[in-house]
């Protein structure tokens, strides 16, 4: 059950040499290439392209949260530089010093929470923006991780309260379905502003 590969590209060695008899199965096989960079498949990474990709990610997340990217656009140039530098330096405090301005921008209350759910076998993504409050509830109940996943991926999460087929994982931590989603975003969102959730199948 190997994932699809680009083994049809010219110059590639045959895929997946047979493992030695009796050897333990390896989790994956890595092929290193030193030529024929696949420009048609991969972006060339430069400091500029990495910076631009990051800024566009936080703008996408901001737009998903608020319906506008005003919060990101109104960051000062020095704040924007600081945000990217904090990411490069892995500096949590400096990162949140700027990101607090994004999440608590004056005149804007967060409406949606951007989520990406990953298929652990194929890497496919389901992305959605989940309202902070559950639609259809009389009192506007706060969204929990369970209600959000139930609305986004009902096949995997048929129940809003108990896990049936998979456990949600972020940062390597199994999360309770009862976790309030807005709090989860403020405490544990990834640097690009998304909740990236993968699945530990049961």
């Amino acid at each position: 059950m190997l994932p699809p590969t680009n083994h049809d590209r010219p110059g590639s060695p045959p895929l997946a040499a047979d493992p030695e008899p009796g050897a333990a199965p390896v989790p994956w096989i890595i092929t290193l290439r030193f030529a024929s960079y696949p420009h048609d498949l991969l972006t060339t990474l430069t400091p500029t392209s990495t910076h631009d990709a990051f800024i566009n990610s936080i703008k996408e997340a901001d737009f998903a949260r608020n319906g506008t990217a005003k919060a990101v656009m109104s960051l000062s140039p020095s704040d924007t530089r600081e945000l990217f530098a904090s990411l490069q330096d892995h500096d949590y405090d400096r990162f949140w010093g700027v990101t607090d301005k994004l999440l608590n921008h004056s005149g804007i209350t967060v409406k949606n929470i951007p989520i990406r759910v990953y298929n652990p076998e194929t890497g496919q993504v389901i992305q959605g923006s989940v309202p902070t409050r559950q639609p259809g509830t009389i009192r506007g109940d706060a969204q929990t991780l369970g209600t959000a996943l139930n609305s986004l991926v009902p096949i995997i999460f048929p129940s809003k309260r108990s896990v049936v087929l998979a456990r949600p994982v972020m940062h390597g931590i199994v999360l309770p379905l009862s976790a309030p989603l807005l709090e989860l975003m403020k405490e544990a969102m990834y640097p690009d502003g998304f909740l990236h959730i993968t699945l530990a199948m049961m």
């Binding site: 096949i155 309260r161 087929l165």
Partner: protein, 190 residues
């Protein structure tokens, strides 16, 4: 392709191989109608299934929050729960064949297209949109030349990654049931 399965639960190494090798096995005359792996997830009636256990319907959407589709007692009988969750996984992430509507609008000096509204299968990547634009605007250079720059945005706001699915973008960012894509020859929306 005789490599070992990528995932095997150490507790039951005996259980996985039959289902994994099923699409690969070249047994003469064996179950010619056996579906290929991608369709093993087809919701109804796994035909002539070699797996002994009937699969439950994991994609019933009618049940209330309290009723999981597999009861705990059933999971004792069904010896291969991991396969059930794999079926659910395949169903949940089945590439959508639905079409989404995309409106392509030029910014600044970028030439307009005669036809501005298109439909695209939801599971296609955003790179399909970008490549379509490059081709129709004549921006692709000669082979080996990367051609002219093109900057493509959603809702005049952000540039999505090329590997994002248009269905995902549509779900999050549609406006009046259209995904609005703006394109430009110079960077905009800094």
């Amino acid at each position: 392709m005789s490599s070992p399965p990528l995932f095997s639960t150490s507790a039951d190494p005996e259980l996985e191989p039959p289902s994994l090798q099923l699409p690969l096995a070249q047994i003469p005359g064996a179950a010619p109608q056996t579906p290929p792996p991608a369709q093993a997830a087809s919701p109804n009636e796994p035909p002539g299934s070699l797996t002994p256990v009937p699969l439950p319907e994991p994609d019933s959407e009618d049940d209330e929050a309290s009723a999981p589709p597999i009861t705990l007692s059933a999971s004792v009988v069904l010896t291969n729960i991991p396969r059930d969750s794999r079926v659910a996984l395949a169903n949940a992430f089945m590439p959508s064949t639905a079409k989404v509507t995309i409106r392509l609008l030029s910014i600044g000096s970028a030439p307009s297209l005669k036809k501005k509204v298109f439909t695209l299968t939801a599971s296609k990547k955003f790179s399909v949109v970008v490549n379509f634009l490059r081709k129709n605007l004549g921006l692709n250079g000669a082979p080996g030349d990367s051609g002219q720059s093109l900057f493509v945005y959603v809702n005049s706001t952000f540039a999505p990654s090329l590997d994002e699915e248009v269905g995902n973008l549509y779900r999050s960012f549609k406006r009046e049931n259209e995904l609005v894509v703006n394109y430009c020859l110079t960077p905009a929306f800094g």
